[in-house]
């Protein structure tokens, strides 16, 4: 009998899950060792984080507030991945959604009951419009959407920074570099967590259901795993691609609308807080599963919140970004290693 390692074309879900858990533990371990090297005590910091996060309902509310946009930006990336597209532009679509919702709120008068749904629609349209050019370029000229969506992030960031410091600057003049306070708030749902949170969960479940149980969802899945087969089977690949990418942009745009109308209440530069980039992380942790996004977002929310808690200890948002990158790096390695299995082979008897 001999033992050897063989690579299989697909990784079993249990191995992929184990790879993710190992990646997170490893990344936190590496971060802890580096922190210890700078003289901090990682165990003490970890204790502080756990106490501040789970010790009170305030801590959990903070996490809930961070999880809301992460669910949607994660879902946005996961949806695009279903058809094999990389939407790295969640950050830009988030800004575009927040921008469009703010524009509607500031310049159209009306009662909140009407205005909030209108802002929601505006956010979705803003996000979808922001991905329109990369979508058409990919669909009709096969231009790599990964790079075009990403480059538009910088444009959106500048656009929001510009309107918040220039044309839409708060005329009241109390706040620097932000627009006036929006007249409409998404009402609170639990503590400081607004109704955007349950809505984000509902949207995720809806999208998951559509992808899992409808003919359209089935065709999208086929088109994502084998475009050639989908085309031969007569599925309208291009139409599906365009719709899925626009949906992906719209979801990220809704995240922006929730953030500006539920959490921040003013449009300002940096409002996205890297949620778009962290959404990539959420989708990767979720392994493309729409429901897995909820778990991935919860985890990323806790990590992001830890970074905010530790800000007083000399850590900052950039450190969290670096640790996130480390998790992603180990996850990518783990995902590949999960394809290998040790197999035993009996030598053939002569």
């Amino acid at each position: 009998m001999s033992i050897r390692v063989q690579r299989f074309p697909s990784a079993p879900p249990s191995a992929a899950l184990a790879a993710r858990a190992a990646a997170i533990v490893l990344a936190l371990l590496v971060a802890g060792i580096i922190l210890a090297g700078t003289g901090a005590s990682p165990l003490k910091l970890a204790g502080q984080v756990i106490k501040a996060t789970f010790g009170s309902s305030f801590g959990l509310e903070d996490v809930g507030l961070l999880v809301t946009p992460l669910i949607l930006t994660g879902l946005s990336v996961a949806v695009a991945q279903r058809i094999g597209a990389w939407n790295i532009g969640g950050e830009g679509q988030f800004y575009a959604g927040a921008f469009a919702a703010t524009g509607v709120a500031l310049f159209i008068p009306g009662p909140s009951v009407v205005m909030l749904p209108l802002m929601f629609v505006a956010g979705a349209i803003g996000g979808a419009l922001w991905i329109l050019i990369p979508t058409l370029a990919r669909a009709y000229a096969d231009v790599n959407e990964l790079i075009t969506t990403l480059l538009l992030n910088f444009v959106a960031t500048l656009l929001v920074y510009w309107v918040a410091t220039g044309p839409w600057l708060d005329p009241g003049g109390q706040a620097l570099a932000t627009t006036a306070r929006l007249p409409h708030d998404i009402p609170e749902f639990w503590g400081i967590v607004h109704w955007g949170f349950p809505l984000a969960v509902v949207i995720t479940i809806l999208v998951a259901a559509v992808l899992a149980f409808t003919r359209w969802g089935y065709e999208v899945r086929i088109a994502g795993s084998n475009p050639q087969a989908a085309k031969y089977a007569g599925m309208p690949f291009r139409r599906h691609l365009i719709l899925v990418m626009l949906l992906s942009g719209a979801i990220a745009g809704i995240a922006g609308m929730f953030e500006v109308a539920g959490t921040v209440h003013r449009l300002q530069g940096g409002i996205s807080n890297n949620f778009g980039y962290l959404g990539i992380m959420v989708a990767v942790l979720a392994r493309g599963s729409a429901l897995g996004v909820l778990a991935g977002a919860a985890l990323m929310g806790i990590i992001l919140n830890s970074g905010i808690i530790l800000q007083t200890q000399g850590l900052n948002v950039s450190t969290v970004l670096a640790i996130t990158g480390l998790i992603l790096f180990f996850t990518a390695i783990g995902d590949e290693l999960a394809h290998y299995r040790i197999i035993r082979t009996e030598p053939a008897k002569a």
Binding site: V143, L152, V155, L158, L159, V320, L321, T331, I333, E336
Partner: protein, 311 residues
Amino acid sequence: MDLIAGLIQTSILAGGVLALAALGEVLAERVGVVNLGAEGLMALGAITGIATVVAIPNPALGFLCALLVGLIVGCVFAFVTVYIRANQVLCGLALTLMGTGLAATIGKAYSGMPAPATFAPIAIPYLSEIPVIGRGLFTQNILVYLIYIVLPIALHYLMFRTRHGLNMRALGENPAAADAAGIPVQKIRFWYVAAGSALAGGAGAYLTLAFVPSWSEGVVAGRGWIAVSLVIFAGYRPLNAVGAALLFGLITSLGFVGQARNWPIAAPVLSMLPYLGTIAFIIVPVVAWQRMRRIMAAPAALGEPYYRDVR
């Protein structure tokens, strides 16, 4: 006249960052590996450059250290993508997040401090006195001449005029055939990806030691991604890449001129130009000239890890 002279000088200076990073990306992509970590490598190079000259005020040393950091991090990236064969897109994004985050964390202490030693422009005698173009072309720092002339010509010769270059390009087109011909696929991939990463690190140091020249969070500002896009626009050719970088230097410097001359356009809007320009330049050519798609096509095996035993 003064405007044109200034424009030429700034364009060349600004394009240098992109040219160096793009040359690094050409190396990696020609052997079949997409390195989306360019942005993170540049951030690491940028902070390494500034941290080095703060300790020892010698810009050449700062640049070398940035190359070295790029090489070391590039070796890790290359090992993971070439030997372990992990997903290149994910690893690249991870590298960008790690590099940007780590550089910003380290950079807190150096933020806003002007570089104590920089690459100063050297005026070449006589040539720099040519009216209009002389100052722009011949009063530049030493890196500019390396990046625009020495490096691209050397790489072009290596890639298109030597047997080794043919082998190297074969890895990007058909690694299985190259393997069958006895070319060590993974070894060559590993070293070119690492070398390309070193150049990206150097591009970061160019930013903080010659172009800006100081460190601030977000100093890289998407230039790594623009460099990746330029490589597509340049059809994966070193000489084209440098030309494209120069074009983008021009777009960037138009923004500067606009701000300096008080054009009635807001500064953030002018700052959008390079990104919008990049998007236009990778979309318009393939739409306008269908033939370009074939001529400028990416290496056929780009982004695909090579498994000898899996077909």
